[in-house]
Symmetry: C2
Subunit: 234 residues, 2 copies
């Protein structure tokens, strides 16, 4: 009890929050497992892309579609709090795309993605895909807790954000398979240590595959495309 404020912690509310959160996550996990089977029935492998706002997820996707959009059957699910902007950008590349807006929520969840999968299916001639990208809401924290039914979780950090991000957002890195450093062409303008970012990420998760790209300048894009092709053939 604080004399100045007269405050006390509310243990009762906290316990209730934990309990409800647990049941919410259990329901999400159930749907995520169904989504995974759904995606596999569509012949596809799905990727969940997680990053801060503005680290270049949509730009990387645009350049990726330019390079393999005609070779692989790709579908894109865009997650945002509001606006159709990202879907509009992807639509110009001529691939099936669905915009999911969460209306305030800070992450996608499995039931919402399930809806997206059906919408995506209707846009494909035969209902099949090789690769489905799910671009999560821009947020480096909350999406990490929600399995969407993906087969691979990718965390993106851009050079302008700083190389301390893996150490500061550990949970996000622990649950991922791939760590992509984006905007590598801007390295000379920022105090970003690739060595620190890689070392801290691997300390948290030694199994991480690390890729470095500068999509606009074409840096590291051959490696990235090869990685995606191998992934889609899994």
């Amino acid at each position: 009890m604080c004399d100045t404020c007269g405050c006390h912690t509310s243990g009762h509310t906290e316990a209730k929050v934990v309990e409800v959160h647990r049941s919410l996550l259990a329901a999400n996990q159930k749907q995520a497992d169904r989504n995974r089977r759904h995606i596999e029935a569509m012949g596809a492998v799905a990727v969940n892309m997680i990053s801060s706002p503005g680290s270049g997820k949509t730009t990387l996707l645009e350049h990726t579609l330019d390079r393999i959009g005609s070779r692989l059957k790709i579908g894109v699910i865009e997650g945002d709090i509001e606006t159709e902007r990202d879907a509009d950008r992807i639509r110009k590349k001529g691939v099936p795309v669905v915009q999911l807006t969460t209306g305030g929520a800070c992450h996608l969840d499995a039931p919402l993605v399930h809806k997206g999968l059906h919408d995506l299916e209707h846009q494909s001639k035969d209902g099949t895909f090789d690769l489905i990208f799910i671009e999560n809401v821009g947020n480096l924290v909350c999406p990490a807790t929600f399995d969407l039914g993906e087969h691979e979780r990718m965390i993106l950090v851009s050079v302008p954000e700083g190389s301390d991000k893996p150490a500061k957002y550990p949970t996000t890195f622990v649950g991922a398979q791939t760590f992509i450093i984006t905007k590598m062409d801007l390295l000379e303008y920022f105090d970003f240590s690739v060595d620190e970012a890689e070392r801290e990420a691997l300390r948290l998760n030694p199994e991480l595959t690390i890729l470095k790209v500068g999509a606009t300048a074409g840096l590291g894009m051959d490696n990235w495309i090869n990685y995606l092709q191998a992934l889609s053939a899994r």
Copy 2:
């Protein structure tokens, strides 16, 4: 009910979540109001800084302390999920600083900040401050829902993140008093429209004060410092 997945939405869980969330927010609001009185009793005005990870909150604070750290009594509360890194950077400037780690949570809340205020008080000779900066967890979504007891809420977006951010994160802008565009010295390297960012932010919140800074290059810093001095004298 979906044939492929067999899913259905869980209305029961959702209603329970809304109810618990409401009571959690009510408890937070009560403590926030107490914090505000607590801060005023310390003679201070408090600023809640909200942004994505890596948009330059700590760097702006470092340069701010270099300029007015000796003229105003400043205290800093650093919010992070993990690590003491930001507090270590601020501590070098010789001002009272407290690191709050949320241990996973995506935002600071009023009870945690209340603890921080007491720790800050103990570091000051007479327990008073002119200005208290609360650097929230790097997240452009969740912190917007939690009043910490601040007098002014500042949203920071850096040039590398893109000028579409106000439109994509509307709730965050609606609840703020100030919008700061950071890393302005990098404008030539990015496709960032200052006009779009300002227009969209003002469309959401016509009362917003907009400031543009490039802390490392010293751009717009005189304006920023004048703004803070006026704020601390309120």
